[in-house]
Point group: D2
Chain length 355, copies 4
C-alpha cells in the first residue's frame, strides 16, 4: 500500500491538501513511550509554511489532534492516530489545473491514474502538505530514538549551486535557516529571493546524519539501511536523488581511496574515514549514518510555461497562481529527519527480534 | 523480510556464496507466461564472471535449474523456484576474514549482527554472487515486459572519472563492454586494468532506461516509482547512490530550467524535456523512465590495508587474497536491468487492480 | 500489524472505546467508487447499540465523518479515512478493572502485554465498539461488491441451544431480529431476556453466505478463501470458531457423502450439493461461499465472579457494572457481513492481477 | 502472496506434487538456532505416507536437503532453504483429471484460475504432499520453541463419529496412531479400513495444545492468536473448520458457564477453567492454548462419482484411480503441530519488539 511505510512500525499517511483533514496512523509503537507534545509541535513548526519570505504564505496551525493511541502523553500500544484540520484552503486557485496540468507536477499523472476522480485541489494527496503527518510520526519517533542515544541531525547542503561550508556536526534545528555556515546561508537566501522575484524557484540538497546508532542495525539485500531509508525519503515530494556516504563521489574513486580502514579507538572498533556512510552490506557499522538528498526546484512557478489542454489536446500557455514556496529545501530539512528517524526506528525494532 | 522484494510479485533470494546452492523463488507470476530459457541464460551470462581480464576469474556455470512453477516453459501460476549449485568454491580463501574484517566489506557488520554464526565464506549472503538469482528473476520478467512493449536498456555511464559519451538510446546487451562510445569504453577498460595491476579497484555509474511504459504506473507517497526502484537497486552490492532523471543535477537548476513542459506529439501528450526521468508524483508520465546508479569500487583489493583483529582488538595489516573483480560495474549492468524490470513489473501488476 | 487487514485493499482500524475518536483508513480502494452514504449509515445502524432491550443501553451516534479519500461521494483513489467521535463514554465505570480483571475479557492479557499502559476504559482497543469502523469499511465495500453482482447475506443461526430453522436464502437486513424463522427468533429473544434478567449472557452462531462470486477467486495454501475470511473474522471480539460449508460436520462423513458432485446447469458448471461451502483448494467454485461463526457469550455479566487482584495477588469477588449486551450475536450479524465483504473484495482485487 | 506465511518469520512453500522438487524457504530465523536433523527427520516421518494400510502407498524419502541458511547445524541468520526431490511420481495417473475434475478436489477451481496452465499432475501445488515442506519449517521451529519451554502436542480427537476419550495431556508423537485411548484408536482404524475397503474415505478432527506459552503473546484485532493460527491451519488441505477452547460449544453456554474465573496458584495467575483456550482478546493468558481442527474426508475415492467433462460440458462418471489416503487425519496430526508452531513462533518474535 503506497501510503504506508514500515514493517515493524507502520506509518499510514492519509489526506489531501484540501480535504477536511490530513493525518497519520502509527501502528506498532510500543506501549509506554512518552511523548513531549510541546517538543513535537516545535519540531513540526520547522516545516510549517508562512514563517518568512522564502516559503509559501499559506498559514497552517499544523497542531495535531490526537484521536487515539495515547493515554495522557504515554503511548498505550495500539494504533496512534493524529489529524490536522485543513482550514486555510483556497480551492478556487486550482480548478483549472485538472485540464491544463502544471509542468513538473503530478497533475497529469494523477489524471491518468485516477481517471479524473482525483482530488486535484491543492495537489491532493501529492501535496507537500502531506509531509506534516510525516513530521508528526517522525517527531514522536525522534524522541524515542533520543532515549536510546540516537540523534538525527541535518542541514541544507546546497541551494542551487551555492554549497554550505563546514561539516555537519551539530543540530541546526534551532536556526531559522538550517545551515552550518551562516555566511553561505545568506547567499542561499539571496538566491531564493532572486528566484522568487523572477517568479521562479530553485532546488537544493539536504544532508542528514544519524549518530549513536549501534553496529548491527539493518539487513542484507533489500532490507539494507540504504533500501529502507531511500524507500521512505522518496516519499517526500520533489526528491530526485539520494546517496549514502561518499555516494556518487565514491564511483570516481579507487578502492584504496574509498575503503574505510578499521581501527580501535577507546576500546571500540571504528573506521578512520566514513565513505560508506556508516553502512556496510546494508548494516550499520557504528559510525554515523550519513546521506544526502537531492531536491528538484519547486515546480510551481509563476513564469509562463507550455502545457497542454487535456480536453482539446492543444498547446496552452500556463501561468501558475496560488501560494508556493520558491524553494522547498529549508522546510524539507525536518521532513528528511523525520523520514530518517522512522526508517531507523523500524530497523532498530527489527533488530530486537534477533537478540 | 530483507531477502524478499515486491508486493504484487514477490521475489525471495536465498543462498550464500559457498552454500550448496543459491536460488530464488518468484511468487505471483501469472500462469501462462512463456519463458525462453535460452534467452534467459544469455541474459545471465552478461553478469557471469570469468569472461575476461577485468572480472573475477571464478568460473560459474550459472545455469539455473528450475525446481517448480513451470510446466515445460510455461509458468503454472504457483511459486517458481530456480537454483544454481555452487561448485567452484574455495572456502579456504576466506577463513581469516571473520577475525580480521576486510575494509569496505560486510565482514564486520555481519559478525556483529549474526554473533559469529554468519556464513562468512565468500561473503556469504552478502556476496555479489547473489545477484545471479536476481538475474534469473529479472531475466524472466524482462521477457514478460517485452511482450507488453516495455524495454529496459542500460549502459556504463562512467568508470572512475571517465564518462561514456552519447545518449543511451539502444540496448548495449550485445556488447562485450556495455557502453555507447567504444572509444570511451577502451579508456574505461584501461583504467580498470590499471587499477587491477596496482592491486586496486575502481567504481563507476550505470545508467538505465525503461521505455514503452504507459503513463499511470506507480503510486503516490511511498509507492512511487523512485521508491520502488531504489528499494530494490540498493539490494545490489556496492550501490551507494541513485538519482532519477536530472537527479542531483536538478537541485542546481531553477524551476524554469528543470520543469518539463508538456506538448502534443502524434496525438499523444509528451514532455519536451525529461528532467523528471519519466516520473511525476511517483507515477510514470509516459516518457522514458531513467535513472543512474552509483557503484563504489570493489572493496576487495590486494593492497595492504589497516584492519582490526576482532579477537585481540589490535590493529592488523590485511592483504585480501582470493579472486575479485577490479571493477564490478560491467557485470552490474544486467543486474540493474533485472532490478528495474522487477520493480516495474510489480508496479504494472499493481496497476491492474485499478483498471 | 495487528490492526490492519488486507493485501490488495488495506483496512486499518484505530481507536479505543473511550478515546476522542475511533475510525478506519481504507487504502487501495480504486478511484471512482460511488458511495451511498445513506445506505452506509443504515447498514451501520444494524450494529448500533441501544436499539432495544437485548443490547447495551449505550447510545452512539455512529455517524462516520469522512476526513479524506472522497470527492463528494466518489472515492478519489488515495487513502479514505473516516472517524466516529466517542461521546457517550463513562470512564468511571471501568477504573477498577485494571486491578481486578474481568473473567473472559482482555483486561488481564492487555495488562500483561502493555505493562499497565493500556487504555482500559471501556475495553480500550479490544472493545466491541471497534467493530463500528469495521462496518464503515465493510459497508462501503458491500456496495462495490453489489455492483459486481456479489451479495453478502447472513443470519443468526442459533442463540444458545435454540437454532433458527429454514435455509438462508434472502437477506435478513431489514429485520429487527435477523433470523429466517421469526418463530425461532422469538424463542431466541426470550432466552436473551432471560439471561439478562439473571445478570447473565448467552452466545450464538452467525451464518453467512456470499453469492454471485465467480469461480477462480482465492489462492492456494495460505491465501485460500478460508484463510482470508478466518483471519479477519476472528478480529470480531468473542468469535471462537469458524467453519466453512459442512465444516466440522464434514469430519463425520464419508467421502462419498461429503463430495459435491459436478453437474451442468444452464450451461454452467455447478455442484449438486455444497458441502465445501463454495471453496475447493481455497478457491471459489462459483457456488455460494458459506460459513458459520461461533460467538461466545458476552463476558461482561453482573453475576458475582471470582477474579484476582493483580496488585495484591489475592482472590477477589467481582461484580461487573456498566452497560453491556446480554447477547452480542444480533449486533454481530452485520459485522460478519462486513468482514466477509472485505475479505472477498481483497481476493477479487487480487484476481485482477492475473487476468 | 498466498504461498507465504508470517510477518516476523516468513515461510514460503514451493513446488508441485510432480515437479522436480518441493521445498520451503524460512526467512527471519535468528542466527545461532541449533537444528537437530535427526529429530527433524523423525518428526517428518510422522506425516510420511506409505507407513501402513490406512495411508497412501506412495513412498517418499522425504529427507530434506538443505541448500543454504545453515552452517553445519546452526542457522546463520539468512534465508534457510530446504528441498525434497520428487521421485516416486506417476503422472500418468492424473492426465484425465484436467478434463473431468474430481469432486471435492481443486481440479476444477485450478482450471478456472490458471486457465489450463496449472500443473495438474498429482494435484500440483494443491497436493497434500506440500505439507512436507510445512513440516520441515514446523519441525525446525518446534525445536526452537522447546528451548523456550513451549511444547506443542496434538492427537486425533475423532474419526468419523468415533471420538477419542480422555484428555490431551501428553504428546502422542511416539504412537503409531496418535490418540489418547488406544481402545478408541482401534475403532477408528477399523472405520478407516472399512471406508477403504468400500473405496471410500472418512474425515476427522485433530486437537492441538500449546503449553508453556507465557501470557502476553499475540495482538488485538487481526493479529490475535486465533487469526494467526487459523490463517496458517487452513493452508493444510482438507481443513474446513477451526475452533479455540470451547469453540462452537461456547456459543451454547451462558456467560456464567463459559467465563474462566481467575485464581492465584503457586504465585501465578491462572484460570480455573479454560473455555477460552488460553486466549483472551487475541492474546495468550498463560494457560494452554488449545484448538480443534475439522478435516473433511479425503475427496479422492474410488467409488464412481458424477462429474462433468469440461470440454464437452456433459456429465461423465468418474472413477478416481491412483494412490490415496482413505483418511488423511492421522498424517495431518504433525502438520497441525507444525502450523501451530510456526504461528506461535511468529507471535513470540513479534513480542520481542515490545520488550
Amino acid at each position: 500500500m503506497s501510503s504506508s511505510y514500515g514493517e515493524n512500525i507502520r506509518l499510514t499517511i492519509f489526506g489531501q491538501s484540501h480535504s477536511p483533514a490530513i493525518g497519520m496512523t502509527l501502528e506498532g509503537l510500543p506501549a509506554g513511550c512518552e511523548i513531549d507534545f510541546d517538543r513535537l509541535v516545535r519540531f513540526m513548526q520547522r516545516r510549517a509554511p508562512g514563517k518568512n519570505s522564502y516559503s509559501t504564505p499559506r498559514k497552517e496551525g499544523d497542531c495535531p489532534e490526537f484521536l487515539c493511541g495515547v493515554k495522557g502523553n504515554i503511548s498505550c500500544g495500539t494504533p496512534l492516530t493524529a489529524i490536522i484540520r485543513n482550514t486555510d484552503t483556497r480551492s478556487g486557485d486550482y480548478s483549472k489545473l485538472r485540464v491544463v496540468p502544471r509542468p513538473g507536477h503530478a497533475d497529469y499523472t494523477a489524471e491518468v491514474k485516477y481517471g479524473g476522480n482525483q482530488d486535484y485541489a491543492g495537489g491532493g494527496h501529492f501535496s507537500g502538505r502531506l509531509t506534516a503527518p510525516l513530521c508528526i510520526a517522525g517527531g514522536i519517533i525522534l524522541q524515542q530514538l533520543e532515549k536510546m542515544g540516537i540523534t538525527v541531525i541535518s542541514r541544507i547542503a546546497s541551494i542551487g549551486k551555492i554549497p554550505d561550508s563546514g561539516e555537519l556536526l551539530l543540530s541546526t534545528a534551532d536556526k531559522d535557516f538550517p545551515v552550518v555556515s551562516d555566511v553561505q546561508g545568506e547567499k542561499m537566501k539571496e538566491l531564493i529571493l532572486k528566484a522568487k522575484s523572477n517568479g521562479d524557484s530553485v532546488g537544493g540538497v539536504v544532508e542528514c546524519k544519524v549518530t549513536g546508532l549501534p553496529a548491527g542495525i539493518g539487513d542484507p539485500m533489500f532490507g539494507g539501511m540504504e533500501n529502507r531509508i531511500s524507500s521512505i525519503v522518496f516519499g517526500i515530494p520533489a526528491v530526485k536523488g539520494i546517496e549514502f556516504g561518499a555516494g556518487f563521489g565514491a564511483s570516481e574513486l579507487y578502492g584504496s581511496e574509498n575503503n574505510d580502514e578499521f581501527a580501535v579507538y577507546g576500546g571500540k572498533i571504528v573506521t578512520m574515514t566514513n565513505n560508506c556512510g556508516g553502512i556496510l552490506g546494508g548494516i550499520t557499522n557504528g559510525m554515523p549514518l550519513s546521506f544526502r538528498v537531492g531536491f528538484k526546484p519547486t515546480p510551481s512557478i509563476s513564469k509562463p510555461q507550455h502545457s497542454v489542454n487535456l480536453e482539446t489536446l492543444t498547446s496552452e500557455e500556463l501561468i501558475v497562481t496560488g501560494r508556493h514556496d520558491p524553494c522547498i529545501v529549508p522546510r524539507a530539512v525536518p521532513c528528511v529527519e523525520a523520514a530518517a528517524a522512522i526508517a531507523v526506528y523500524d530497523a532498530v525494532l527489527a533488530r530486537k527480534r534477533e537478540l
